[in-house]
Symmetry: C2
Subunit: 153 residues, 2 copies
DNA sequence: GCTGTTATGTAATAACATAACGTTTTCCCC
DNA sequence: GGGGAAAACGTTATGTTATTACATAACAGC
């Protein structure tokens, strides 16, 4: 989400709470805590990173605690899983579940989520040409972001 | 590679041997065995599937045995890793290391490797627009292949 | 044959994820 | 407000994927 300032984070969480109410699903304390952690982080977080953070205030937490919350947040389209990193990031435009394209800088660890119509169109075309019905496109580009490339010189 | 017939498999392995010689790298017995296993399989193979197969004839094999061979084959562009499955498939057109797009049927497990210029172009454009230099595009589409969709009815 | 390099053996462990089952909480209908 | 179903959570154990670390062996060039 890239909204690390406390104010906008609180606002975003409030919006999410409304969204969940509207959908008839429950944003429990644990789910909210996990979502907040992921959103606060400027880097993708591994499940066990999240677990460690939660255990600071709730020592009884265990892997299922985290994975259940992550499953919920994924299903609600509030976070994404980066398969190439085994890590999770907040969604840049939460709402309906969706897939995006992710630019992953291997130098600084920053991740940018895109939703480029051109990419989505070409993926749709190529799938259709093969008679394939895609339900979960995964597009992850590892590389070097603009800032890190400049720094290299 | 989708070449499961013994004859073409042998031919392909011979070609690969030449390729490695030309590059000054060694296609050792273990690497060759792993490549053959992956190519023979009509489904993506997990590292531990490969390990189990190898241990049948070589009981001393251990995880690093397999992962080293896989690393070599990946570096040489002879196989691909499917991040969404934690599994490995033979490359459809081995040669230089490269990235493709993968259609993964969740019904039958078949994987199709594409190298669509349209997709690659749109990915290049979107990366360039962000000032991002991608070195490893990963595109995997989970869904249902043509054959399985027909069978469903 | 000596030497630096590449490949392999071996053991242990790290990192990521799920199964299984019982208990608690919440929600909804009566 | 009480009872029952569903959802969420606690807890323990285990499964699965991948790596570290260090010792040994095979190979190539001198
Ligand atoms: Zn998103
Ligand atoms: Zn960067
Ligand atoms: Zn390929
Ligand atoms: Zn299929």
């Amino acid at each position: 989400m890239a909204c690390r300032e406390a104010a906008s984070l609180e606002a975003a969480l409030a919006q999410v709470a409304e969204l969940c109410t509207a959908r008839g699903v429950r944003l429990t304390a644990q789910r909210r805590r996990v979502l907040e952690l992921v959103w606060r982080s400027d880097k993708p977080m591994g499940a066990y990173d999240i677990l460690a953070a939660i255990q600071a205030e709730q020592p009884k937490a265990a892997p299922p605690t985290v994975y259940r919350a992550l499953d919920f947040l994924l299903a609600q389209g509030l976070i994404h899983k980066l398969q190439s990193l085994h890590a999770y990031v907040g969604c840049a435009h939460p709402g309906q579940p969706h897939a995006g394209q992710f630019l992953i800088c291997t130098a600084c660890g920053e991740v940018t989520e895109l939703a480029d119509p051109g990419v989505e169109h070409s993926l749709g075309k190529v799938a259709a040409a093969s008679g394939f019905v895609a339900d979960a496109p995964m597009v992850e580009l590892s590389g070097t972001c603009c800032g890190c490339r400049v720094d290299d010189e």
